[in-house]
Symmetry: C2
Subunit: 313 residues, 2 copies
């Protein structure tokens, strides 16, 4: 059976058409993220029509993951509690209506951190399941890292997601660069990543500072982005790389400690996500002694496929 999959996040809508064997036949994308649609069902329907009206008549189920199921989404779905697998998620899924055609929305995942606070994800659980579909050996046990605005580190044991931890690394980078004093010394961002030797070294220097001196505290180390710039120790075009290294370094430091505390210190480590961002994380991980961490890119289609199979859609 073919499938229409929707990876509907806060800022982007990614629609995919999968063939009867789960192969991706077509991908389309728009900026109609859930956070732009005011929690109104008619706006979600319109966003879907704007991107894939011509798919409405195609056969097969429609399955959607991500912020589309959040408080201000098309319809709010509860979170499934960890440990959870594909069947847990499908049990909590619910239909909404796309002009007479059902769209099955998936819930997010929730766990409790060591500090007793809840932690949450919506959408990444589908990418995790996709990774297990692509690389079944990981299902036994693995630590999966999904870098992003809100990075997720997920613990997989016995085919289930048993816990995870969120880090606001990407959002911190964006707000500090755009809105803090740290951005003032940096030139305007360009589309192209800097690939010079100096940029590379500035990134590594940031990672190493977090690795070796992170106890000094991130709020302290962030100020060094400014002081190293003012002192001429790092050139302005490379300061954003240093900041990126510092923030990713703090994430890796905390994430690897979480992994060890979770008893997964020896389990396979994998990066999942956009290749350029994952390459940056792999470079950072090498400085923490984890060389050549494999990268899985865009596992959402495989995850949606796996979930559709599980639910007998």
């Amino acid at each position: 059976m073919p499938l229409i999959g929707l990876d509907w996040g806060s800022t982007r809508l990614r629609a995919m058409r999968l063939g009867a064997g789960g192969e991706v036949l077509e991908l389309r994308e728009s900026g109609a993220g859930a956070s732009t649609l005011h929690g109104r069902a008619d706006e979600f329907v319109a966003a879907l029509d704007a991107l894939v009206a011509d798919w409405h008549a195609l056969p097969g189920p429609v399955l959607a993951c991500g912020m589309v199921g959040s408080q201000h989404g098309w319809r709010e779905l509860p979170y499934a509690d960890c440990p959870a697998d594909a069947s847990t998620l499908m049990r909590l899924s619910l239909n909404v209506d796309w002009r007479g055609r059902p769209v099955r929305l998936l819930p997010g995942l929730r766990c409790t951190t060591a500090a007793g606070a809840p932690d949450l994800m919506r959408g990444e659980e589908t990418q995790v399941l996709g990774a297990l579909q692509q690389a079944p050996a990981l299902a036994e046990q693995a630590c999966l890292v999904l870098p992003g605005t809100h990075s997720k580190w997920a613990r997989v044991q016995g085919g289930r997601v048993t816990g995870f931890t969120t880090q606001m690394t990407g959002e911190l980078f964006a707000v500090l660069r755009q809105h803090s004093v740290l951005g003032r010394l940096m030139p305007a961002p360009t589309q192209d990543a800097r690939e010079t030797r100096d940029a590379h070294e500035a990134f590594n220097e940031g990672v190493a500072a977090a690795r070796d001196h992170g106890d000094a505290g991130l709020p302290h180390q962030l100020f060094s982005v400014r002081s190293l710039g003012l002192a001429g120790r790092i050139a302005p075009p490379d300061l954003a790389e240093y900041l990126s290294g510092l923030l990713i370094g703090h994430e890796l430091r905390a994430g690897l400690a979480w992994r060890a505390q979770s008893g997964l210190g020896a389990a396979p480590l994998r990066l999942i996500g956009e290749p350029a961002l994952c390459a940056r994380y792999a470079q950072g991980l090498a400085l923490f002694g984890a060389a050549d961490t494999p990268v899985l890119s865009n596992t959402a289609p495989a995850g949606l496929w796996r979930l559709a199979q599980e639910g007998g859609l």
Copy 2:
């Protein structure tokens, strides 16, 4: 001899008229901070005229500290290196011209952190000297905490500032509240601080989370502001208090560790600054076992007075 003192920071200009014994006779303040004046001498002169043109004819020297001496200030002064005292600062001070009248600008202070990065301050060194003027017993050894946009923790030994560490706590709070996803769950800020029992508890909960679970990493703990809000564990009006507690808690955790590593674990600890903000830090310090930390407010006039005496102005 009377003195005209200027505490000229990034965003505010504070002018004070001191009597022959150092007593404050008059204080005036404007929003003509150094960062608003484009590094142009004529704009600095105009800003001074707008606030205190009638002081131009008064007797006595004019002495200025803060960002007025920075790269984009009235004139750029170098930093004095730690260890430094009043005479070190006066030796590096320089005059600029206020319509035929000299204004003596003070340099900032620089030190090197344990990680080998430079750390910088401009203006706080004068507040530190003012504290030593007000409470001479602190000169032998003390750890002075100046909360703010960029908080400073200064180490005083033998009458000199021997080192310090900066934390971007206030700026992190502002940018996260105004520009990140964390602010979206919070109601618009009001002028009045929340003084309810729940607000107080949310602040304490944030401090305790940083104290007990800070190893999980600030980028992780910041996300809990969102997850605790979404889960209904902290009410929206109190989320900003929790965020404040979390950030101040991380500052205190790192600052107290820095103090201990500096060999000042038993030295007097003092807060210097705006009373309401210092009260918040004192509340946080109590949760770290440092109850009733004394507060010194607005020590800049005493510092400028001390420096003018030292320079024989």
